[in-house]
Every structure is written in structure tokens, then in C-alpha cells.
């Protein structure tokens, strides 16, 4: 019911999202610059690997890995958690609650609308570089490449819902920002954002393989750069879909619990 209403409002909300994006140009530039961290790691590891392969990764493998990483991160990264906890803290969430659309969809549409702008600068460069210099390390199986798109979409849903849930924790906690930092620390490590998961010490690698963080970023990257059997690829995306469902449900649960406690500070 609420979903159908959200769908009907989608075009308008997307238009609003585009307008917001254009209004705050500087913020976007800052955001784009923030997400280029993989390029720094790329420089680091490729210069390490130039003295000889590092744990099976050649210099070229690192180039392909981090460029794929950059592309997937550009497409899936959101800052919705910061937005929500800030709106709860200042009380401006009250405005959103008055509207007939669930904030989950409202935020989702505004972030989807921003996506083309956010990726406009970095994406063409990264894709160009990836094809020109890292092509030898990419997968060539068309079915696996097709799954990459599905996997990126699922990664977006998982990341968005997870951050939505963490942001909603601001209903219960005064210092949700500290949690956000903790989230980012764990995410950098367990999602493969800092380095490929198979470079991690094996016990952390085992945790990472099962954690939701892997499916926020590493899964589509792995599909892009690692040749795997169709069965393994399908299994990866299947697990990702399960995580997506679980985390959307979690986000909804935290939200519904929390919103009952909302006091709209300051309004």
C-alpha cells in the first residue's frame, strides 16, 4: 500500500533529489573527492607489488582491484545514516513524518537521484582506466559481468538499509555519530575497501566472508575481477540477496521501534 504510493510519487521525488544535488554543488565535489581513497591505496599496493607479486597479487591485479573498488563504491556509497541521525538530533525529522511517504523511500529516492551526478566525474575516468590498463585482470564471462550489475544494485540496497538502521539508532542514543565512525572503521576493513579480503589474516578473512560488509562492496568487485565458476558467482549473489532482505527488515524494525520514542526536539 505504502509502497504503491511511494512508487507513484517517485518521479517528483527524483526531481526534488536532482534539484537538491544541483543546489549543493560544493558538497558534491567534496563527496567525490572523499570517495577517491581507493586511488591512494592503489598507488600504495601497486608500488609494493612492483618489487614482486604480493601474496599472489601482481601490480596489475591491484590496479584492476582498486579501480573496480572505486567504481562500485561510487555507485553504492551513501551518507543517509549521517542525515537521519542529524535530523533526529535537531528535530527536523518531524517535517518528514508529516509527509505521506515513508522516510525510507523519501531518502532512497533522493539518493538515487544524486547518483548520476556523484558518479559523473569519477566514473568515466575509472571505467576508462580499468579497461585500458587493468583489462587483463578482469573477468570476461558475460554471465558473470551481467551478475555484476545485479550485485551492485543489491550492494546499494544493503548499504543504504544498513546506514538507515544505524542512523535510526539516534532515536535511542545521544551519540549515534560515534557509532557511525565505528561502522566506517569496520566497513573499511571487512568490505574490502582498504584491501582485498584475501590479503587479511585468515581469521579476520573468515569473519569478513560472512559479514554483511563484504556484500556492500567486495561482492561486486570480486565478480568483476575474479574469474569464478557460474555456480560460485550465483551463490555469491544469492547470499547477497538474503542479506539484502534481512537488512531491509532490520532497518524497518529499528525505525518503527525508534519513531515511537521520537520527541521532535526543538519544534
Amino acid at each position: 500500500m505504502s509502497f504503491a504510493r511511494a512508487l507513484r510519487a517517485a518521479p517528483t521525488m527524483l526531481r526534488i533529489g536532482v534539484a537538491e544535488t544541483v543546489a549543493y554543488r560544493a558538497e558534491f565535489l567534496v563527496w567525490v573527492l572523499t570517495t577517491t581513497l581507493p586511488l591512494v591505496m592503489l598507488s600504495l599496493w601497486s608500488s609494493v607489488a612492483s618489487e614482486g607479486p604480493f601474496k599472489g597479487y601482481s601490480s596489475n591485479d591491484f590496479v584492476a582491484y582498486y579501480l573496480a573498488n572505486l567504481i562500485c563504491r561510487q555507485l553504492t556509497g551513501t551518507w543517509v545514516g549521517w542525515q537521519i541521525s542529524e535530523e533526529i538530533r535537531t528535530g527536523s525529522m518531524a517535517m518528514r513524518l508529516l509527509r505521506p511517504i515513508h522516510p525510507f523511500f523519501a531518502f532512497a529516492f533522493s539518493h538515487i537521484a544524486a547518483l548520476p551526478f556523484r558518479s559523473a566525474i569519477a566514473l568515466p575516468i575509472a571505467v576508462g582506466l580499468l579497461i585500458s590498463s587493468g583489462a587483463s585482470s578482469l573477468t570476461t564471462d558475460p554471465a558473470q559481468l551481467g551478475l555484476v550489475l545485479v550485485s551492485i544494485a543489491l550492494a546499494w540496497i544493503i548499504t543504504f538499509s544498513f546506514l538507515f538502521a544505524i542512523g535510526s539508532l539516534a532515536f535511542f542514543l545521544t551519540k549515534a555519530m560515534a557509532l557511525m565512525n565505528l561502522y566506517f572503521g569496520l566497513f573499511s576493513l571487512l568490505s574490502g575497501y582498504l584491501m582485498p579480503l584475501d590479503l587479511l589474516p585468515s581469521w579476520i578473512g573468515r569473519i569478513a566472508a560472512w559479514s554483511p560488509f563484504r556484500f556492500m562492496l567486495s561482492a561486486p568487485v570480486e565478480l568483476l575481477v575474479k574469474p569464478m565458476s557460474r555456480g560460485a558467482a550465483a551463490e555469491l549473489v544469492g547470499k547477497q540477496a538474503l542479506w539484502a532482505v534481512a537488512i531491509v527488515l532490520l532497518a524497518m524494525a529499528v525505525w518503527t521501534r525508534g519513531v515511537k520514542r521520537f520527541e521532535a526536539v526543538g519544534s
Binding site: 567534496v30 591512494v40 609494493v48 612492483s50 573499511s188
Partner: protein, 262 residues
């Protein structure tokens, strides 16, 4: 000058009593500091598990760079970032007018507006890392190196402060820069690696354009006694030059400040 000092002391006291009001945070922040330390050390651990030296740095020496990194980061997150967040909010809401009205230099008021006292844990952790690194090396720094290493730590902190003042000045023109602290954090994160590990363009960028090398690599080299006198002077001069430039930019920006509320 006396007034400035008194203002800073009062701000510190307010932040401290603010922090004391949330005593459970004491445990949380302590645990977080430990977790962050582990997260910070891990990539280095991975790197040195397969290599003995990287670009001329062995594991204990690189650990000293990390120690400096954690120290400067503690100062960044304990003093600089909270103040920047407060400033951006003040400019957006127009409350910054009141800061300008006060008979104290606005830059001091803005820089010292808010502290996170619990970050002291991170500072202690960083010291522990440096001590451990020297223990692994088997010998400590000479007294002279220790003095220069400490002096360059201050230079590094000043350099970082200068970059931050530039960001603060930028927020006069482009108002909504709440994520600026994340950009600062992300760029600064590079400082955990010795700058020699990077090649080509990036090393140039991190030495001259965004001088994270001044903040950690060079102070660590000084502490290790690997820095010649000329470089020491250059690093200190570079930090001071950045400080002067940022002060000039700040004053220029403040002349162009158009209030949001009037």
C-alpha cells in the same frame, strides 16, 4: 594574550564538564580507542607479514610513523574536527555574527570552541605504540633526536591546523560543507604510511600539495635520527609558512563574510 589564554581555559573547562556529564562514554570511548588502534595497525601488519622492508622502512620504523599518525589524529579528532563542525553550523545559522562581535580574535574562538577530552585515550595509545616500536628496535632515540622529533610533532600539528583553517575559511563561501571533516579525515588517513611508500604523482601531492608527509613521516624520521639538518629546517619552515598562509586566507575570508541572518 592573557585574555586569550583565559578564554581557552574556560572553553576547555566547559568541554571537560560536558564530557564528565556522560560518564558511561568513558568506557565506550576507551573501548573505541582500542578498536581503532587495532584497525589502524592491521594494514601495516598485513604488509609486513609478507615483506621485511618496504621502500626502506622496516616494521618497527613504520610503526613509529603510525604512532605519530595516531597522535596527530587524536589531536585532529579531539580539538580540530569538533570545532570545524561547530563553525560550519554557526555560519549556516548566522550565529557566527556573535562570535565576530566578541572582543577576542575570532580565529582563536573558532579553533577552541569545542573539545573531545576522551581523545586522550588515543593519545596514550599512540605513545604506547611508539614505545613498543623502540622496544622492538632494541634501543631508544638519543636525547637530541627526541627533542627534534617532538619539535617536528608540533610542526606537524601546526601544518594540519593550517589546512583546517583553510577549510574553515572555505566554508564562508560554500556554506554546506558538513562533510568536509570526512574529506579531511580521508586525506589525512594517508599519513599513516611513510611517504616514501608512494610513487610518482602521489608522493609529490602528499609532500607538497597536501603535506601529510610533514605531519608524520618527517617527524618520525627525525625521531629515528634519519633526517639531516637541512630537511629539519625545511620541514619546520614549511609548517610555519603554511600557518602564515592560512592566517592570511582566514583574514581575507572574514573580510568577505556576509552573514546568513542579516
Amino acid at each position: 594574550m592573557r585574555t586569550l589564554w583565559r578564554v581557552v581555559r574556560i572553553q576547555l573547562r566547559i568541554s571537560l564538564s560536558g564530557a564528565m556529564a556522560y560518564r558511561t562514554d568513558f568506557l565506550v570511548e576507551g573501548a573505541m580507542a582500542l578498536a581503532w588502534m587495532a584497525l589502524t595497525l592491521l594494514p601495516m601488519f598485513v604488509l609486513y607479514s609478507a615483506r621485511d622492508t618496504v621502500a626502506g622502512w622496516d616494521a618497527p620504523s613504520a610503526l613509529i610513523v603510525i604512532g605519530y599518525f595516531m597522535m596527530v589524529r587524536a589531536i585532529l579528532e579531539g580539538v580540530v574536527s569538533p570545532s570545524l563542525v561547530a563553525l560550519v553550523e554557526q555560519i549556516r545559522s548566522g550565529a557566527f555574527d556573535y562570535v565576530l562581535l566578541k572582543p577576542v580574535d575570532a580565529q582563536v574562538l573558532v579553533s577552541m570552541s569545542s573539545f573531545e577530552p576522551w581523545k586522550i585515550f588515543d593519545l596514550l595509545g599512540a605513545l604506547a605504540v611508539i614505545v613498543y616500536a623502540f622496544w622492538r628496535r632494541g634501543y631508544g632515540p638519543s636525547a637530541g633526536d627526541a627533542v627534534i622529533g617532538f619539535g617536528l610533532l608540533i610542526a606537524g600539528v601546526l601544518a594540519m591546523y593550517a589546512v583546517w583553517i583553510c577549510c574553515a575559511a572555505a566554508s564562508f563561501w560554500v556554506v554546506r560543507l558538513d562533510n568536509l571533516t570526512y574529506l579531511l579525515g580521508a586525506v589525512f588517513d594517508v599519513a599513516r604510511w611513510p611517504v616514501q611508500v608512494f610513487r610518482g604523482a602521489w608522493r609529490f601531492v602528499f609532500t607538497f600539495l597536501v603535506p601529510v608527509a610533514i605531519m608524520t613521516t618527517y617527524p618520525a624520521m627525525a625521531l629515528l635520527g634519519r633526517l639531516d639538518a637541512r630537511t629539519i629546517v625545511l620541514v619546520a619552515a614549511g609548517a610555519l609558512a603554511m600557518l602564515a598562509a592560512s592566517r592570511a586566507l582566514w583574514q581575507f575570508a572574514i573580510r568577505n563574510y556576509t552573514s546568513a541572518s542579516s
